[in-house]
Amino acid sequence: MKELFSLLISFFKIGLFTFGGGYSMLPMLQKEIVEKRGWATEGEILDYFAVSQCAPGAIAVNTAIFVGYRKKKIPGALMSALGIVLPSLIIITIIAALLGNFAHLPAVKSAFAGIRIAACALIISSLIKLIKANVRSAVQIVLAVLSFIIVAVLGQNPIFVVLGAALFGLFTAGRVKADA
């Protein structure tokens, strides 16, 4: 019971401070789930992201459900899902009921220009950690760089990258050393 409640609180916090798309939850995930709670390792977070990218729905929600399920089966999955959507539910309801579109206010625009930079700095810092842990051998570096180019430069759908890398991993299973 206590652990279910911690799942709810942790993902509520993560949902509340994740601005922008799915992967921008990574810095909060590393802090709350990996460092503070020890519910997953850096590498496992990447596994969850890979599956979440291919499953229907928002990546942040899928990742929350995954962590919750690994920790406390179906009740854990439900609590984590609730935690991650609750901030949206509360904030958007307030906006819909009272505020209308506040995004045009100059002060709000400037504040979010600042927040975007923080989000960017946090993702860079998370990336440094991930690269140190998961991208070390020559094969791993090639996979990471290729995946970046395919999505960021060529503008292809990330799902192709995930499927391609999964196939590569399957065919080289046992031959390329996996890191824990």
């Binding site: 949902g15 509340l16 994740t18 601005f19 922008g20 798309g21 921008s24 590498g43 890979a50 599956v51 979440s52 499953a55 229907p56 729905g57 928002a58 942040a60 929600v61 899928n62 399920y69 179906i74 959507v85 949206s88 904030i91 958007i92 309801t93 819909a96 579109n101 506040f102 709000v108 625009k109 400037s110 504040a111 220009a113 600042g114 927040i115 975007r116 930079i117 923080a118 960017c120 700095a121 993702i123 860079i124 810092s125 998961n134 760089v145 970046f148 999505v151 960021a152 990330p158 995930v162 391609g164 890398a165 999964a166 991993g169 399957l170 080289t172 046992g174 390329v176 996996a178 890191d179």
Partner: protein
């Protein structure tokens, strides 16, 4: 069919077929607006994208809450949001259950050993797109004759300082929330 049921069904479908993150839901939402013009207009959808950039949470979830609220108040908001995430819950739980069984299998391990570096690349790509919108001036196109004109130098400087803090021995334990709060204040002051 009563309207609330239609609402649930529409968002359940969106949750089921929008694969690849929040933005993948946009075409579905756009079609939903054509089918139910009394729920929300294309214009409101555009507004909502702007609101979603400035509020936490995935855009599809925000949109479900918003539309649910306009259709049927707080109850509608809750209903639409949970219809939207129901497919995720079912599918991710099934996948997680299967993976748990085979996690020590040599081939499953092989798959993930290929996926980890690739997903790191995907996150780098996501970081790169955030980098572009946060330090570049959108209405100045990048050109080789004046390669620095497209950058907002205040933003570049702030970014450099923040990245330094995340790596520096005495400040690297600072919580991400602190970065977001401080940067919001700095944003109001300098932009």
């Amino acid at each position: 069919m009563p309207e609330l049921l239609v609402l649930c069904w529409e968002f359940f479908k969106t949750g089921l077929f929008a694969v690849g993150g929040g933005l993948a839901a946009l075409p579905f939402l756009s079609r939903m607006s054509d089918a139910h013009p009394d729920w929300f207009t294309q214009e409101m959808l555009a507004d909502m994208i702007a609101v979603s950039e400035s509020t936490p949470g995935p855009i599809a979830i925000n949109m479900a809450t918003y539309v649910g609220y306009t259709v049927s108040g707080i109850f509608g908001a809750i209903l639409a949001t949970f219809s939207m995430i129901l497919p995720s819950i079912i599918i991710v739980v099934i996948v997680a259950g299967i993976l748990e069984k085979y996690i020590s299998n040599k081939y499953v391990n092989g798959v993930f050993s290929g996926l980890r570096p690739a997903v790191t690349g995907l996150i780098a790509a996501a970081g790169y797109s955030v980098l572009k919108v946060s330090v570049m001036i959108t209405d100045v196109p990048f050109s080789l004759s004046a390669p620095f004109a497209a950058f907002d130098w205040r933003a570049v400087l702030l970014l450099a300082v923040l990245v330094f803090f995340t790596q520096f021995k005495y400040t690297k334990k600072i919580h991400p929330v602190a970065y977001i709060a401080v940067s919001a204040v700095i944003g109001v002051l300098i932009f």
